[in-house]
Amino acid sequence: MTNGQLDWRKVIRTGLLVGVVMVFTSAIGMVEDFDERPVVVGILSLGFLALFWYVPRAAYKVGDEEVLEGMEVHPPTFQNVIAGAAVGAIGGVVLSVLVFAVNALDLRGVFVRLSPQLVKTLTFSESAADPNLAGVLVLILISTVLGAVGGGLHLVSDKLRRQIVFTVGAVVVVALLEDVISQILRTFGLSALVRAIYRDAALRLIPAIVVAALGFFVGGRERGGESRIRAYLADPDPTQRTRKSLFVAGVVLVIVLVAPWVLGSLLSEILATTGIFLLMGLGLNIVVGFAGLLDLGYVAFFAVGAYTSAVLTSPLSPFFNPEWPWWYTLPVVIVIGAISGIFVGTPVIRLRGDYLAIVTLGFGEIVRITFLSDAAAPWFGGAGGIRNIPGIPLGFDTISGSDPEYIMYFAAALVVLAAWVSYALLNSRVGRAWTAMREDESVAEVMGIDTVRSKLSAFVVGAILASLGGALFSAKLGSIFPTSFELLISIVILVIVIVGGMGNILGVAAGAVVLIGVLGGPRQPGLLQEFGEFKLLIYGVILVYMMLQRPEGLIPNIRRSRELHHEELSQDAWLGATPSEDTAGEGAPA
């Protein structure tokens, strides 16, 4: 909106975009699949949530005014509502065109999900052959109203807007986390409460209203819990600060120890998977985030660790099967991981940037294909992999994938180890050399840093952490196959690091929890199992969105974030400082 006037071209453009998003969501089958998952009983299904969520968002966005310094700022007016409604209406019309197109033309040959069933869902009608005109109108009407509401959000105060967003968010989150919440409640013997809140995994109406009210209340508070913890930890007195940090760490530890027993085995399984991916994320963070080496073949070290541990423990390992207990394999895994880090690192380390990424990508595939090959089959079992990996002996019992609670403890222990290694190295001579190298490699070299050695050490530390992850992974699964170590894993781990916040330990943790814990790993289920096959699409959307809006990640490393916003910051710095006049004249000798 410029000059306080409606910019109709922008409105139409946004409206068409909304329409395209809705058509896309329908055409890939998301609406239909998710329609089977209700969010609030009888009112909202996940399908319609996926279909319509973008309408109010875009309608709000269309009214955003570009604020330029020194320019007049126009207060939001009723026109925002009109613009929003128009966006919604245009989007709705585009979607209804799809409904008619599906009926008139047979598109199923190309778009298999454009089925009569979709039309039925979209138009709320009983039969697809006769599209319910009223249903189509309702569709457009809903879209328009949502658009108007989105636009209208400009008119309310910031606080109220946040409260509204929290209200909607709370209902959606509580509904989607039905698994977790009902499991926790059942653990405490509150099955009756579960039945009172949920029906068919969806919120009942009255609890939904209660949750909405809670969300409204929480959204109205000034400061979130996170900033409180932060303020609590930022004690100026160092001894107090250490004590408080230890206290918080202790609380987290107790939560981690208790969690598997409260959450049940399904959720522990998810946590264990998250832990393994987090461990690898921390390892890759050292390579990419600290040393600035883009490694796209990171899964190679994961595979090496898993196979090393499998060969040494499994009685079915084809060539060499000493049947060691899992514990004994750890030193070997560390040594072999380090050796493979040196082995992969040495030839590629002199390459910079993109070239390094491409070559490491190749190495990742080479490792997988080697394990798959017939030539190596006598040692590693080829496509059949290695089975009967016994798990982790613990005196009283042997821990394997069927005890995800214990696997989670192991994952947590390794994550703590990786976090400590990351932290300790970053604040050391080695870590400073990595940072310097990332900032300006040739200057780092002139300042006496042997960059080849520094890079290699980052590679090796990363490789060791990944191979430890592999060792735990093989014990957890009980059998490993070359297909478990595909390129996708490398990419997912990299996405965890990027989305979470490169170079920041907490950031990587956030990335792992959001992507692996909530959405699920490439083959592992997450909390929201509903997303199923759309998981990778959502990964992509998150990645693109983060790259555009928040390239430094969810919880950024301060330094990284500065690098990414360097221009703005240095401009500010220059404005703040008083630059001295250039007096270096090209004077001739006197």
Binding site: A424, S442, A444, V446, G448, G585, G587, P589
Partner: protein, 261 residues
């Protein structure tokens, strides 16, 4: 014996002969200025000595050993440190870190010490920090105190130049190569830095080669002046000898009109 002895140094970039056979020497404790018009090859001269580019021909003897074509990190370890004409700090590292990281080649704790926080590691870290602060204190209070934890990019231009010198000092070199240390400074800052260059030699014992355009600085700091033009050494001598040399004046100003021979 001279500390640094260079004979017949050549370096070409494609068809451009940046250095066409330069002879140069500097004795311990000397301050030598390298001057010359733009494009004379002064910075290339530094780049080749510091190992950023290998020489095409010629010898660079540092304390009797040929260091031509060695890795930059090795050359720094031998005891040559430099600054850059277009200040190249690690902008997002703090001021203290910039100086701490420069001690890399003088320290040796590795991954093991860092992870297990051994006594040796802690002692070395403390030493690194102490040395860093000592080096920064050379510039008075400008880079001290609250500045330690600020990122380098917030510094003013003159302070960035100072920090770069501090970073070079932190590598504990014998020979310092300063590439236009006063470029972009105002007259007062220039004067102050001129004094500091003298102090670098007298108090800290560095031998210094300095590329400089400001002739007042050259006059005040140099024991000897070397003039480069088009990649070759035009002349050398004391400031007074050089500044009255016909060839030098010609290189800077061109021939007087009508003096065509």
């Amino acid at each position: 014996m001279a500390m640094l002895e260079i004979t017949g140094l050549k370096k070409a970039f494609g068809g451009i002969q940046a250095l066409g056979g330069v002879d140069f020497h500097i004795n311990e404790g000397e301050v030598v200025s390298v001057i010359g018009p733009n494009g004379a090859g002064k910075t290339s001269f530094f780049n080749v000595i510091s190992g950023m580019f290998p020489p095409d021909e010629g010898e660079i003897l540092f304390e009797g050993e040929n260091i031509g074509g060695r890795e930059p990190s090795t050359i720094t370890e031998r005891g040559i440190a430099r600054t850059f004409q277009n200040v190249r700090l690690f902008p997002n590292m703090t001021i203290l870190e910039n100086v701490m990281v420069a001690q890399h080649c003088r320290t040796k704790q590795g991954i093991y010490g860092a992870i297990f926080r051994t006594e040796a590691f802690k002692q070395e870290e403390a030493l690194i920090e102490e040395r860093a602060k000592d080096v920064l204190s050379f510039f008075g209070s400008r880079l001290m105190g609250y500045r330690f934890d600020q990122p380098a990019f917030v510094l003013s231009y003159a302070n960035r130049r100072r920090l770069e010198i501090a970073r070079a000092m932190a590598t504990q070199p014998k020979l310092l190569l300063l590439d236009e240390p006063t470029a972009g400074m105002n007259p007062r800052e220039t004067k102050e830095l001129t004094g500091l260059i003298g102090k670098l030699r007298d108090e800290r014992g560095f031998t210094i080669v300095v590329i400089e355009h400001d002739m007042r600085v050259v006059k005040n700091v140099s024991d000897r002046v070397v003039v480069l033009d088009h990649g070759v050494k035009l002349t050398e001598g004391t400031y007074d000898e050089v500044s009255t040399n016909e060839d030098v004046i010609e290189a800077y100003l061109g021939r007087p009109a009508g003096s065509e021979s």
